[in-house]
């Protein structure tokens, strides 16, 4: 038997196994139960349009706020970590290690419910606002490490060239190093962003008013209201609909930037 023939045979048998598995699942699954529990037409209809105009909208808002806030704080932390001043480095390192070591949910509950209770503080937007601040604190710790690595990946010659032209170190950072670090950092930041889309689900733990419901809270409410898990499948599809285009968009931006280099 020739090599190519053998390879084709292997492929065929792999397809065969796949088909057998798919058929086995298809025949053994209880399709009726699946349909009634996850594709209940009335429940799906009842979710519309809140699932988009409320749930998806709020999830996107929470993600955008947490990302923008987290990134800003992360930049400060990354610059502190690269500072020549030991004190700044210590603070940044301590912060990053602290928040990466805690479950995000704990920080969210702490900021959304714990701190308001302790200090009589009412966070903007209620407990969700506090929870968002917690999410910002956690995500900034992760993003700070990403940014620091990106900044350090810019070749030293770039800084030297800028300094030799008489630019100050701050000027050099802003005009020469950071723009190049941003490109390096786009792929890992995409990951952070998609993780953040999913992490906003944790916010529902602190309780939300009706107009604040995110996808997860909406799904959970739906589950209780209609005594049917269909809403869970619906919000799962919504999360995918949000996350997938984002990763595609960023992949496209990366490609375009690659060409500009």
């Amino acid at each position: 038997m020739k090599r190519s023939q053998r390879r084709r045979l292997t492929h065929l048998s792999l397809y065969g196994v796949l088909i057998v598995i798919v058929l086995a699942v298809a025949f053994t699954a209880d399709w009726h139960t699946v349909k009634v529990n996850f594709f209940d037409g009335d429940t799906w209809k009842a979710l519309w349009p809140d699932i988009v105009t409320k749930g998806a909208k709020n999830t996107i808002w929470y993600t955008a706020i947490a990302f923008a806030g987290g990134l800003t704080l992360a930049l400060v932390l990354a610059l502190m970590k690269l500072s020549p001043i030991l004190g700044y480095r210590w603070i940044a390192t301590g912060y990053i290690e602290f928040f990466r070591g805690l479950p995000a949910l704990v920080v969210i509950i702490f900021m959304g419910l714990g701190v308001p209770l302790a200090f009589g503080w009412s966070p903007p937007g209620g407990p969700v606002g506090g929870g968002l601040i917690g999410l910002i604190m956690v995500s900034s710790a992760y993003m700070a490490e990403t940014l620091r690595a990106g900044i350090q990946a810019v070749p030293k010659g770039q800084t030297e060239a800028a300094r030799s032209l008489g630019m100050s170190s701050a000027r050099t950072m802003v005009t020469v190093v950071l723009p190049q670090a941003v490109r390096i950092v786009i792929p890992p930041l995409t990951n952070e962003f998609v993780l953040l889309v999913k992490d906003t689900a944790l916010l529902s733990a602190v309780g939300m008013q009706d107009n604040q419901l995110d996808l997860t809270a909406l799904g959970q409410n739906g589950l209780n209201t209609y005594a049917n898990p269909s809403p869970l499948l619906a919000i799962a599809l919504m999360y995918l609909a949000i996350a997938l285009p984002l990763t595609r968009l960023v992949a496209w931006m990366e490609k375009r930037q690659q060409r500009a280099r």
């Binding site: 070749p155 010659g157 770039q158 030297e160 060239a161 800028a162 300094r163 030799s164 032209l165 008489g166 630019m167 100050s168 000027r171 005009t175 020469v176 723009p179 190049q180 490109r183 500009a260 280099r261």
Partner: protein, 246 residues
């Protein structure tokens, strides 16, 4: 201030990297309008000396004056001194995220505070000078090594520096691209630019240089008229080095 107004004056310069003494008491100067070439084996400290002149490398001890200004003095505005010293690197170090024109204007605008139109005018003049007028909208990645290095020279010139430092500007280039870069440097020298050039191009050192400095093991072993030193080296170490490279 020292009496004679030298472009660069280095006195008893020592530089350690950790325990490694890389410069062992260098006395060295470049007069205004002079072209001084520095040669020597790899690791002899040529780049370190050059980089100390604009304090990209921090001297361990000794004094460095640029146009009479002590650059190690805390009172000295280092950025201002640096803006008067053009520097050209072996690896070009163009800013890859900017067009050629932006590479040439960014420091003019941010450091020299020139208007946009003035900066662009100066940049275009210098691009024409290095023979790359038509490349102003290209990104560095789309240029050959020789073109990138000429852009880097034009970038340094756009600050209207009083002197230029070159650290092996042609070492990273394919042989057929070296000539264009050396031609630009030769033209600069003819125009009277003060230049300190670390190089392995002995032909350039002989024809263009006013003074040749041979370094080995962190000291200046021999210096003098390039023709003299190259044809008739006095020290055994110089002889050994030249017999290998010539």
């Amino acid at each position: 201030m020292n009496g004679t107004q030298r472009a660069i004056e280095v006195r008893q310069l020592h530089k350690y990297f950790g325990d490694n003494e890389v410069l062992k008491g260098i006395d060295f100067h470049v007069d205004a309008g002079q072209v001084v070439c520095v040669i020597g084996p790899s690791g002899s400290g040529k780049s370190t000396l050059l980089r100390c002149v604009n304090r990209l490398e921090e001297p361990t001890s000794g004094q460095i004056f640029v146009e009479g200004v002590d650059i190690c003095d805390d009172e000295t505005d280092l950025d201002k001194v640096r803006s008067r010293i053009g520097m050209v690197f072996q690896q070009f170090n163009l800013f890859p995220h900017m067009t050629v024109l932006d590479n040439l204007t960014v420091a003019q605008r941010k450091v020299r505070r020139r208007s946009k139109s003035e900066a662009v005018e100066v940049a275009r003049k210098n691009l024409a000078k290095v023979g790359l007028a038509e490349k102003e909208n290209a990104y560095p990645a789309h240029l050959s090594g020789g073109q990138q290095q000429r852009v880097a020279i034009a970038r340094a010139l756009s600050m209207n520096p009083d002197m230029m430092l070159f650290d092996e500007p042609t070492s990273a280039l394919d042989p057929e691209l070296v000539g264009d870069v050396l031609d630009v440097m030769r033209q600069l020298a003819e125009e009277g630019m003060t230049m300190m050039v670390v190089t392995h191009e002995m032909g350039f050192a002989r024809e263009v240089g006013d003074k040749l400095v041979f370094m080995d093991g962190g000291v200046i072993v021999e210096e003098g008229d390039p023709h003299e030193v190259l044809a008739n080296p006095q020290h055994e170490r110089t002889q050994r080095f030249l017999s290998k490279v010539l």
